[in-house]
Symmetry: C2
Subunit: 200 residues, 2 copies
């Protein structure tokens, strides 16, 4: 029997989703686990909790810690890093683009490319320019994909996905979901994979 | 040259401080690292952030996740666990008692005993009864230690310690501090130990 996929709920504006997105394909493949890529938006979920901004901006001590911690994590995992000037970035177009590309073999590379643009290259991921450049780097024609990203079907799918995240109990990103179990935070990726393999 | 101790900032009401407190003595000893035990109170720090209660009570999705996560963590590390009826518990007397016992060889066992009372035995750690029972289990006469815990010097030391935590940038527990670097969360204990051993 094929085990269910590990759901990877990620938000392109989320700092800790960056190392997780960079690591997950390799770690999951090594463990023999399939990844279901689930782009979503944290904004509506934060708003439901009464937050109008990222908690890292609302709570300065938490924010200062997070930036330093992210820098250390990137160094630990050998990932490029440069603190972005804009935080959080508007991630809706990027999320729609990833959703439009679900099932494409280059989706994981697209996701990583968008994160690197945000957290290592100082790119503005809210623009078709930046996203088009990432698509181009993967040998994909930007225009048709950016149009697909803005189609009503994809817009609806992102809205539905974000509602499903909320219904699952997701309150932050990244979150891994394995047979009804939530694992919040990139540092739980190994635990989520281990849970997936328990098979009970 | 002796490397500086790893500072372990913990709060007896804090759920994630429990597994950290249970694991730190063994892990630090194995790494050859000295632990400086730093009991403090999160209440004043949360209040400064505008929270009148634990964020796990203020944000229900976060709270539901935390209890399940804590249960899984305890299972993973082989620690006893039973969800306490009261959360968060009033931890001021316990923190004062730990501060009074700084330097005693049985301090780590006292800390673990108080956490087990809170998170595995359904004990009310705000009472001299519960704390006295933990002291007794360590072969210590409860009365003199509970009196020392309530001395003005210890009360002042707890206030000063909590202020120092805030000045260091501590915003949650457990937090490990190594040469000016903060590591927040029990899942960062191994990283904090590794940082301590880098020696740069």
């Amino acid at each position: 029997m094929t085990p269910p996929a590990l759901e990877f709920w990620f938000e392109f504006a989320s700092t800790y989703s960056y190392p997780a997105a960079m690591r997950i394909e390799t770690l999951a493949a090594r463990a023999g686990v399939t990844v279901a890529w689930r782009p979503f938006l944290l904004g509506p979920i934060f708003q439901a909790q009464g937050w109008s901004d990222s908690p890292f901006n609302l709570y300065p001590a938490k924010g200062r810690y997070m930036w330093r911690d992210l820098e250390r994590l990137c160094a630990k995992h050998g990932l490029p890093y440069a603190r972005p000037a804009i935080f959080p970035q508007r991630s809706i177009l990027a999320a729609r683009l990833a959703l439009a590309a679900i099932g494409e073999p280059w989706l994981p590379a697209l996701v990583r490319g968008i994160y690197v643009a945000n957290f290592a290259e100082g790119g503005d991921i809210s623009t078709p320019d930046t996203l088009g450049r990432v698509l181009g780097g993967l040998g994909q024609a930007p225009q048709p994909w950016l149009e697909r990203a803005q189609s009503p079907a994809v817009k609806d799918a992102l809205r539905a996905g974000t509602e499903r995240a909320q219904a699952l109990g997701v309150f932050g990103a990244p979150t891994f979901v394995v047979r009804g179990e939530l694992f919040w935070g990139g540092d739980r990726l190994e635990d989520a994979l281990a849970w997936q393999l328990r098979g009970d």
